[in-house]
Amino acid sequence: MLGEGIIKGMLETAKNFAGSYVSKERLTTVQYPEEREALPEASRNFPILIYDGPEWEAGLRCVACQICEKECPPKCILIEKSADKKPDAVGKPQFYPTRFDIDIAVCMSCQICVEVCPFEAIKMDKEFELATDDRFGGLLHDRHQLAKSNEYYHQIHPVEAAEVDARLAEERAAAAAKSKAAAEAAAAKAAAAKAGAEKPAPPAGGGA
Amino acid sequence: MSPIFYLLAAITVAGGLATVLLKNLVHCALAVTIAFLGLALLFLSLDAQFAGFVQILVYIGAVAILVVFAILLTREAEVPESSPAGRVFSKTWLTGLVIAAAVFAMLGWAVLQSAQALPNETAMPAVSVRDIGNALVGRYVLPLEIVALLLTAATIGAVIVAMHEKEAK
């Protein structure tokens, strides 16, 4: 109680002062614009829209179901659904967003849109240097700005993207098989109907 | 009686006058420090370093601050124009004048007396700090001790007053 505590504290700061010249542990600053630490895989910032294939507009996975718009807590998503249907990446006719805006000034990076999206169409970007001097227009990203290729997605979240791709492939395979089966069934049915008109049909074989 | 003396005297007198004439009490207190400073510089121009620096140390460093603190702790620094205290010449100005004249007369008398008593030397005696020290503990030791005792008593008194106030809380 006679100043030992003060001396002890002074030694502690001296240790840190000296340590900062020899140990990274005691000099933790990262010189940001020159040095950048790799962001962890899970890191998230603002949402992006994923498209398959080379064409962003044609390949958008989004089918404008508007679930994310409804679930978004700060309501920063604005979607306008198309009137017509266009074939998606696998060729199935789907609605598509004629307008998909995210106001990243409002967005709070909560990732709920990603969780609720049934089509793996919206994902989180890692890009964080989005500062702009235009407060309104500059921070309102439209669907062109939001659209990012699947390759880009693989780049930023490799593990997650691989899982998503596997899942999608499975779903698409299932869907393709189903549609094929349906088509076959329809064909078989048609054939059967056709055949039935001529003679009693054999039982339709093969399924999904 | 060099020009420097007249300059310093003018500063001192101006400071004194400002002290009396200014309206804002804090300004008055700051003006009196100018007078103190002028006095200290006069001492220095007489080659009395010790007296000059002690004048600054004690009067500017302590007395002026004390005055300022007293003003701030007791009342508003600015006296409203309408109140009687706001005017420089209050009703009792005659009394003040008489007192001031009496004090001035006495000081003038004392100065004139001592000027007669002192031998008419042109050269100043060089008074070093060492000489002052020796005089204080030699020839003037009794007054020094008395003053010391008085100050100790005053300090103890002040402490007791402060402690009493603390107990009352």
Partner: protein, 390 residues
């Protein structure tokens, strides 16, 4: 393990001490500390009436950061509230997540799987450590320590936030827990990284204590200042480290044994004086206990899923009913009260914010002290204005 007896009659301490009459004709000085004052932790105002530098009266004024949190919650789905709870006490988003998830789980009768329970404990205790360390850093900052303790606290906090980021994707706004588990699973790499960080924490706490605990100036500034009597603390429903610093043994981890806290060995440090120093020390000791819990929890994290497979994320509609769940957040008892009417959004949603309730005794603690002490006492309460104002 004793449960606090709440007295029905008002204890003596609750009645505000009579305002001492101004001495003589001394002038009272009224100062508005805040809303833009360097040490109000955000936008907060204290209208202080001073006699010299002594506080005669203090009126906390808050609400500058009011964001309609509860009303907002009633307009959106159960899931969508979760990210908003991050923003209550933005230093401890994972504790908030847990509290809310617990309330909704209670409402819907769900239970998180084993692995998720362990994860929740690990994350909550990491949160507690970083919160206590930074809160001590802020306290010392207000004591004028040029930010050195704060920077050391942040150095350590940074490691913990890195763990949060690599698991949840965000450093502060984690939005990680869900009703019936946790959002994403965890791999061994993360657990190992956590073990490494936890292994380094005792050294940090030692250093922190070497810098601060024995410091005479810190003792002189904090001992005997801002005393909160246990009776007043209990009657004003103060919780958390503040209550324990006043010597009341009340830790919801022990009282409710929510989650899996009954499996871990830990002690609850108690102070005897209820002053700022005790609050500081209780926080330091709690950090040590948290490290102890973490070591136990990290030893045997079971395998399995982190999410109840039956749990619904979208279109979640719990049965009509009500539930109140509380956890021991780093700042005190954090409670969530939810009433469901069967619709996708809660009929009533209410937060019991420890910060705000702990702030209610600010005037009682400050009266008679200096302006400088007001800042310290305020800092020792450890509030986050996001939670006070909601």
């Amino acid at each position: 393990m004793s449960v606090v007896e709440t007295k029905t009659e008002r204890a003596e301490g609750w009645n505000r001490p009579p305002q001492p009459a101004p001495e003589g004709e001394g002038e009272l000085l009224e100062i508005a500390m805040g809303p833009h004052h360097p040490s109000t932790h955000g936008v907060f105002r204290m209208d202080v009436v001073l006699d010299g530098e002594r506080v005669m009266k203090l009126k906390p004024v808050f609400g500058y950061l009011h964001r309609n949190h509860e009303q907002l919650g009633e307009t959106m789905s159960y899931l969508a509230i979760m990210p908003y709870t991050d923003r209550l006490d933005y230093f401890c988003s994972l504790s908030n997540n847990w509290g809310y998830a617990l309330a909704v789980e209670k409402l819907a009768g769900q239970e998180a799987p084993e692995r998720a329970q362990y994860l929740r404990v690990i994350l909550a205790e990491l949160t507690r450590i970083q919160n206590h360390a930074s809160s001590i850093g802020f306290l010392l900052q207000e004591m004028g320590a040029s930010g050195t303790p704060l920077m050391y606290a942040f150095r350590e906090r940074e490691k913990i936030l890195d763990l949060f980021e690599s698991l949840t994707g965000s450093r502060m706004m984690c939005n990680y827990m869900r009703f019936g588990g946790c959002r994403v699973g965890v791999n061994d790499a993360w657990l190992n990284a956590t073990r490494k960080v936890v292994a380094g924490l005792p050294k940090f706490v030692d250093e922190f204590e070497a810098l601060l605990t024995g410091n005479e100036i810190l003792m002189a500034r904090t001992q005997g200042v801002g005393v909160l009597k246990p009776e007043l603390a209990v009657n004003a429903s103060i919780t958390g480290p503040m209550l324990r610093a006043s010597g009341v043994d009340y830790d919801i981890r022990k009282v409710d044994r929510y989650g899996i806290y009954d499996r871990f060995q830990f002690r609850v440090p108690l102070g005897d004086h209820g002053d700022i120093y005790d609050r500081y020390m209780v926080r330091v000791l709690e950090m040590r206990e948290s490290i102890h819990i973490l070591e136990q929890a990290l030893k045997d994290v079971p395998g399995g899923p982190v999410m109840d497979p039956k749990a619904k994320i979208r279109g979640f509609r719990p049965k009509p009913g009500e539930a109140y769940a509380r956890i021991e957040a780093p700042k005190g008892e954090l409670g969530f009260y939810v009433i469901s009417d069967g619709s996708p959004n809660p009929y009533r949603y209410r937060v019991r914010p420890p910060s705000m309730i702990n702030l209610t005794v600010l005037e009682d603690m400050c009266l008679g002290h200096n302006v400088a002490d007001v800042v310290l006492i305020f800092g020792s309460v450890d509030i986050v204005l996001g939670e006070v104002d909601r």
